[in-house]
Symmetry: C2
Subunit: 324 residues, 2 copies
């Protein structure tokens, strides 16, 4: 038996990843930029075991088969190839945040799996190698490998497409107040959405202008310029949803309460509060603010119709091995 | 005294007009396609009067000054130049539909004004000339001059930018069930929005692909192919709102109930009902359906949260002179 355990945090992108140049290697069409979320944690153990006939996956206590297991096996296969190992593995993963609340756990899940599997297999991979490994299982997972504020350079190939920190978690006291909405529709998976991106007449224009937004966003983070961050983050989120809602078939992830929160956040910022919104492939709204305002923002969000609960996270650290 | 009266209907665009190549002449960046709405009518009288020291405008019984009056005077000036007339005029305009409900009345208003003013001045203008005249006051007004299903060819200059009917009102028994929403925000005027269109990184891509959508839409109308009309209409509406929400500053016309209606319409069509949505520069949703379903659609819309009232219109006729 070869065991290891790791934790990782999900991340929220200010400059979004939407669409692949290579869907197998998950080479993205544009570079992206995100912040890890320390309040939310995935904890994963991997045990390579000579007795196991096949890989097994348990997510929050529930055994998973089918496509979910296949995605894990694909990552484990890469690790086995690198380590010259043939044993099958059991992976157990748990999130400390509510499942089914629309908080994507694939980024933190595959980042933690990459670290745990590599360690269990006895590989000594550096951050860049771990980021590339996580990327092949879930694009945004590569951004959950480094800590703090993280850039994923699109790169040219498997070697050059990885994420790195541009600033540590303590660089800027931001918070992400996640407005979790009452969910009635199961959104299309991101994997399917990435495939549809190219069917939108707007995707090429979004991609062509992404590098410039990323430069503005990086600068805003390095200089702790909230207003600049707010404008480019909301624009980039709207650009991704513009592509989604004009793909064939269209993906309309927003629910009525999504717009309630968007309008409220814009109004609060117009009144002088440092706050902005960004939305992933689902209806929930990530409300980014300076930490000094987080309690007030969470309270105000909670009062909006359609907001079920609010989860607050600060900039989180890197994915890392832990003692099991 | 030289008097005339005219009526005109607003129109709903399936392929949208958003952005001008020439904002003074209102030459659009792309051709558009619309249907006149017979249930909604503007009635306008114009009296050129040697006694008047200046033009006067009364809208729904209220005297208007400032920018609203200037826009009317600019159209009257064109008519005076063509007719060699120097008298000032009094224009009185009334809508049979609720004002402030977000039903744009500039298209029907300026179409009726163009017809009434030209007639009062003794000009004998053909449909094309009237369409061009109305266009200079409000772009979409040029589409309210011909009857039924109307195409506005972008053209190259003032001479070639005008609208013409592609099918009469009786060609296809469609209805527009307008879901009027409870309004809390005053939207940005279309005039201002047209200026912002070019600040969106997506506008060029929308415009570049508009001619192809217009061809699909024209064909769908000529062949009475509802499913094809539905897909291209919703896509084109989403493309315009994608541009709006990514302009600087962003224009987010949708309200929470806008999304409630959009999701409902998509679900109804998935269940087999011939229905689709399109949204102008405001929160209201125009729900297009076959007339046989109009009563049911209106009833179902009325039951959705946030829908204040539903106005139903059928394909409308041309702007025309009436006896005062």
């Amino acid at each position: 038996m070869k065991n290891a355990a790791a934790i990782a945090h999900p991340n929220i992108a200010f400059i979004k990843y939407w669409g692949n140049r290579d869907p197998v290697l998950r080479l993205p069409v544009n570079s992206s930029l995100s912040m890890n979320l320390d309040g939310l944690t995935t904890r994963t153990t991997v045990s390579f075991d000579p007795q196991l006939p096949a890989d097994r996956l348990t997510l929050n206590g529930q055994e998973v088969s089918g496509a979910g297991l296949q995605r894990v096996t694909a990552l484990l296969d890469r690790v086995r190839r690198m380590a010259g190992l043939s044993w099958r593995a059991e992976a157990r993963s748990e999130n400390n945040f509510p499942t089914g609340a629309g908080i994507a756990s694939s980024a933190s899940g595959f980042a933690a799996l990459a670290v745990a599997a590599a360690c269990a297999a006895g590989l000594e991979l550096d951050e860049r190698q771990l980021s590339r490994l996580a990327r092949t299982a879930s694009g945004s997972a590569c951004r959950s490998i480094p800590g703090g504020f993280v850039e994923w350079q699109a790169g040219e190939d498997d070697q050059t497409s990885f994420a790195f920190a541009i600033a540590p978690p303590e660089h800027w006291d931001l918070a992400d107040c996640i407005a979790v909405l009452s969910q009635t529709h199961k959104p299309t998976t991101s994997q399917e959405g990435h495939r549809l991106a190219q069917t939108s007449p707007l995707q090429a224009a979004r991609v062509a202008s992404a590098a410039q937004r990323l430069a503005v966003c990086r600068q805003a983070i390095l200089q702790r310029d909230f207003e600049a961050l707010a404008q480019v983050t909301e624009l980039d989120s709207n650009l991704m949803h513009a592509v989604m809602m004009t793909s064939s078939p269209p993906l309309l992830y927003w629910q009525p309460a999504t717009l309630t929160v968007m309008h409220a956040v814009v109004a609060w910022r117009a009144q002088g509060m440092p706050v902005c919104y960004t939305i992933d492939a689902g209806p929930n709204v990530h409300v980014i603010c300076e930490q000094a305002y987080a309690a007030q923002v969470a309270r105000q969000l909670q009062e909006l119709p359609g907001v079920q609960t609010v989860l607050t996270a600060r900039p989180g650290g890197a994915a890392r091995r832990i003692n099991d």
